[in-house]
Symmetry: D2
Subunit: 92 residues, 4 copies
């Protein structure tokens, strides 16, 4: 079982939204949109990819390493909470 | 005329390749691929988006600000060359 | 004359503040601060370095390529404004 | 005990090297170095901060969540190995 099963629908929705954003860039190039417009669309993709990465890593921690809500080892649960906070800070 | 016209075909090919990479992530989630596999696919998208951003900004400099190959003002041409080098370093 | 002369004092103040942030990380490691504390201090450095990079590139554009406020060529001034906006978006 | 104790000396050496890099930027500004030179120095700092962040997060995983070399739970050790690989990919 992969770490992506649990939140599979949520992740798939996120990936499909990202595909929609790429298609918007494609259309903007085809219709000769202004440079600034294309750059703004690409900037939004950049943020979306970083956010998706952070969510995938956080899911992986919870499902394959330690889920702070259910881990009976309190020290490890605390370490996992701090780790998830750090991932959120660096990949937001 | 937008800065994207000149290299429009090259940029469109790049954007379509990026869409193909997103679709690979979509399929990997649908087929319950392992976590590591999904994360590797997303890492390659991240690099591709950064590279696309750098190319769009470099095109914009050459077409709307200063093209070092054709700018008759040598000081500005030199400044544009250094600027493009910096963009390549930071968005590669 | 370097692009850094004009805003030299402002940039130097920014670099010295950054050095102070590194020294705070150094002290936190020496005094065995908690992991989360060290990570938070390093996260703030990351943001400061990105902001400094953006400021250096923006200064370079204004002083060596095109300053939108003074460039007599309106098309190039417009291109430089869009470029500076893009740099601010990607390096903030 | 913090996650930084074990590798404290190694981390401190890294932070002090980073401080030396900032001081090189400070000197380059004071001596009116060229724009390109200052930008190159700042680019190297950016890479060093990202590498330090990755090392701090990896140490935290090994010391406070799961150390793949010593964790008796094989599934968790495997999950931690994949997590460390992902962190290395995204924060290198």
């Amino acid at each position: 079982m992969s770490h992506t099963n649990k939140h599979k629908d949520k992740l798939l929705a996120r990936v499909r939204r990202l595909k929609g954003q790429i298609e918007a860039v494609e259309r903007s190039l085809e219709s000769d949109a202004s440079c600034g417009e294309v750059l703004n669309l690409v900037a939004s993709i950049r943020g979306a990819v970083t956010g998706l990465t952070g969510e995938l890593i956080e899911d992986h921690i919870r499902e394959h390493v330690s889920n702070p809500q259910t881990d009976p080892d309190q020290a490890r649960a605390q370490g996992a909470t701090e780790l998830i906070d750090a991932i959120r800070t660096y990949l937001k």
